[in-house]
Subunit: 348 residues, 4 copies
């Protein structure tokens, strides 16, 4: 009964088998392994982008920070939601990789930026030499609150960015969940909507540790390669990254795994609602944010359920019927028994 | 017949099995997995350092740059050999992670620093505010030229550093090879000689991609954790790093693998000498630097032998008997047949 | 009739005479001129801080950014008001000098932080390795809105900082105006209230271009000197900075000049109120923020009055009686005729 | 008798008068003062570059570091002589402003780079992703050893840079001395020879503290302005920088001052030679490097002569007739009596 995070899950057996299968013979290092050629071709297909430059790194923070640094100068700003992972959960990695860009924060319900809010933030940044200048927009899909942007919403945000001449980065650590949730194609949710570079996540959705960075404009390729190396993110035995990604993409495994996670999220969310819990955000994907009585939390945690009271600072000590809010994240490996047991305990 | 680099090799089966075995159930992310507790304990044993702070990252460049950044301020200098990996092969990662430290280069035969050269470099750096100040000494064992520092040589360099109040970093991407070559214990080659922090390599010697950073002074722990996260080098599914390192250390597998690589290097080196080749550096460990006739190079490369003409820029076009220099690196997986075939082709 | 900024003013004649008087003979460069010895002693007196480390630079941005960098690590946060000069008017200089710290913004009326707001910002920053950690608090007195913190208000903010173990920086580009406005002593408004380092402004208040950085803890001295040099802010012909500051402090000229500026601000503010204008912030010091009809703005600007519509983006085109907001800054050199003429035109 | 450095001198009276004359009325801040318009026009004339972007800062270190940062990416290298000011006397400012570029050092007699040495350094840098890539060439005229590059020598170095597609920076802290020494025009010594950006010094040659940065390609203008602000080098009361530079350029005062300094250098150099001293470098400009007996040094220093034993570490204690080497720098203000007295004491 582990809903702490999708990164508590193991890797999918097919991914692990691919890694083991790659473990033979010599292979060219540093991304020149033949598996990577296939991965590159496959991701170009996925995004319907025959010219895309495609790279692999091992962590989502690296993918995001390197992608941003490829577009954003130190004297420029990254526009993102205040709750974005790049702002609150990467210990300043974007500032580090850009060597000092400023994250300009926008608000918006359910961790989603609005076109109006984004436009206002851009308009009030820059101009005179005294201020940092607009650099790039970064959006996250699915979001930190488990919500998703539709293709139309994505396009609306990109349109604002483009109207100011700005590129757009998509933090897709949970992009698979967004694709499944919206029914849009990967291209519709990114390139065709106006996104320039995607952090395409694998780790949270069934891999050991691999994320792709996909630049739709290949002009960024060489600079990215240098920044990746300089950041210590170029793997010598790169084949083990390639093998994960190849298996992840094969036969749309990545979508199957995200569908399983989203379905588990839906089941959990519906069950909590039916039990009288209050949903704090729409459950668009695999993360459920809900408030329910302290007594239920006690029962769950006594029984070993792992999840986070969210935000932190809430206590299990106190009146039984007071509502405490929590985050429960499902993953590809969430078993029906886990969800069922959780709901059973919730009911008491 | 692949002597291009030890990172062209696959991972040892035991290491891969450990990774596969870790692929079950949920596990705490970000280094809180139980395997990491065992790895920490084991590395403290290896270095006879019960207080050491121990961390894992996936690349040697990350290990080096993060270790240096923990000790070296932006307005300080790193003293290293001009041929050091941190100077020539990391695309400026140390400058990036320290946010602008200067690498002050020393010379010395066979990629080895001398106490006199190091002392002179430190003495002529700093003092007045116009110059960067001495920050840290970084040495590499085994070196970029396949040579090793004995425990005594290591201590002599550390003594110079200490006489100037400087900490010492050891780039041990091939530390196992140095331990085997010298017969000294890991502690004698590092902590007991005066080293403060070690990049302890696993990748080149039978792992998929894992390096430990071992701080003998645990006071650096929290800052390192923040820098690692900020650099995008904290793995969420950390168990797969832990599992590699655990298997690597178990039953001294790491030393067995290095011994095999060093033995292959010795065989190759002796064979080249006997064939009239000229060794460019002593073959202390697993890398052989030698010059032999162009005709032999042609035969080898026609037969598919992989290795680098070293330095670059030499051509296979030209007189048959002209000597071309080359680097051949053996690994744990170098087969006797490979070495034998190489020497056979060399003889012609 | 120039109310654009106090930095549009000339230098006070006494300051210029001191610069001219310093222009003879040879002098030791880089801050070793004898005038600097006197400046150091005088600023220690001013702040009643016999151990303080005292340095001069030429711009306020340099003073602020270097002071912050002396205390704040790249993986830490600076807490400041959203309207602070360091956030909106320095093109990311704090991020540059700290090599990537994050400015965490608090709100508060009239550009003033509140103890509660500051405490909440600090409490919700840091802890786990995923977030930047609290680093330093920076407050500005007088503020960007022309308001001031009393000694008691300063102390209350410093107490919050200290309760979290954080140092405090004071951006005192207009510190003189705050001292005059509050009647508190320089020490009461800084060191005795808990401030650790002050950017002590001269430029806006009658100098050509000089700011002191005063560290109450001399342990920061050497690092600051290196950072100042590295930033290109160590003057070789330093005597011309020293001479300005010496004249500025002599006979409390600095307070006389600030008093004149504040008095002019008061006159202007009162006159605007009496004319039916609406004050947007209390006029505690030398800057007036007020809204009055567009017709009055047209009359003023036609007559050559210089000041800024604030915020930008408002237009002189439109209905006569619509209120437009503006910022008018007085300086030491604001003449009574200028203020009178402004008010005359305002009345129409 | 002060030969310690040309920055020990005062400012020329004409420069100081111009600063005083600028001290009236209000003026637009941040480089929008009308004097700056004239300075820009005049420097374009001086360099015969009608499109040049021209900026002022207060220190040579700022000029150099900002100029380099405008051209050199963090993952690139600056090629310079090992003795260059940017390498040894700026506490890592180039590394700071470029956020971590690597200075790749070349050797060469008398602090002068050779085309062959430069070409070799560039050829052996970059290529693969593992190494930093060539970024910019920086040369200094006159050099740290008091020598000068002719227009032809400058062109030869620029040709090497251009053959690798690299821009060229000229550290002209003492450019006036080079112009006078070579008889070449400013344009011939820079733009026409292939230089892209010049740090044009004023401070050492009669100003209080001002250096121009001249970009022959105006495309760099906006980025430079942002970097200058971000570095804290944009002066609010900019008129005082402009006034210095205007007076410095008026009626070729800058060349007259450099001529006086070079002439004094020549007189001193000739006198030392005639007295049996040994010149260590050709005296092309205003700095003399010579070795003469310790007894003479004692006489000089007892009489109050200021200059540096060069390199440091030499002692006045020891045999009378042992030669100690020294650096003596003349300036625009060096009086014939000073030179004569120095030589008189040297003779004993």
């Amino acid at each position: 009964m582990n809903f702490a995070s999708d990164n508590s899950s193991a890797a999918h057996p097919s991914v692990m088998e691919a890694v083991a299968a790659a473990n033979r013979d010599y292979a060219m290092p540093y991304g020149k392994d033949p598996i990577m050629d296939r991965v590159r071709a496959r991701l170009r297909e996925v995004f319907e982008a025959p010219q895309a430059a495609v790279y692999l790194v091992a962590t989502g923070t690296a993918a995001n920070a390197l992608a941003l640094a490829s577009y954003c100068q130190p004297f420029q700003a990254v526009f993102c939601h205040a709750d974005a992972h790049i702002n609150v959960d990467e210990c300043g990695a974007p500032e580090f990789y850009t060597t000092g860009s400023k994250l300009v924060l926008t608000q918006g319900r359910d961790a989603k930026m609005t076109p109006e809010g984004l436009d206002a933030a851009i308009r009030t940044t820059g101009g005179a030499v005294h201020s940092v200048q607009p650099g790039i927009v970064s959006l996250t899909n699915s979001t930190e609150n488990g919500t998703v942007y539709s293709a139309e919403e994505t396009r609306a945000l990109c349109d604002v960015a483009k109207s100011h001449g700005l590129p757009v980065h998509l933090d897709g650590a949970r992009f698979a969940n967004a694709v499944v949730a919206t029914g849009a194609s990967p291209a519709e949710l990114s390139r065709k909507a106006g996104v320039d570079v995607v952090s395409f996540g694998g780790t949270k959705n069934g891999c050991l540790g691999v994320e792709a960075v996909v630049f739709f404009d290949p002009a960024k390729a060489w600079e990215f390669e240098l920044r990746r190396k300089r950041g210590g993110h170029l793997f010598s035995k790169h084949r083990y990254l390639s093998a994960q990604m190849e298996a992840y993409l094969a036969d749309d495994l990545w979508l199957d795994l995200a569908r399983a996670a989203n379905d588990a999220g839906r089941t959990l969310s519906d069950g909590i609602s039916q039990a009288g819990g209050r949903l704090l955000h729409p459950t668009d994907a695999n993360a459920v944010f809900a408030a329910f009585p302290r007594a239920a939390h006690r029962r769950l945690q006594d029984a070993g359920a792992a999840y986070y009271l969210w935000p932190g600072g809430q206590s299990l000590e106190g009146p039984d019927d007071e509502l405490l809010s929590a985050r429960m994240v499902c993953s590809w490996s969430t078993a029906p028994e886990e969800t069922a047991r959780f709901l059973e305990l919730l009911h008491g």
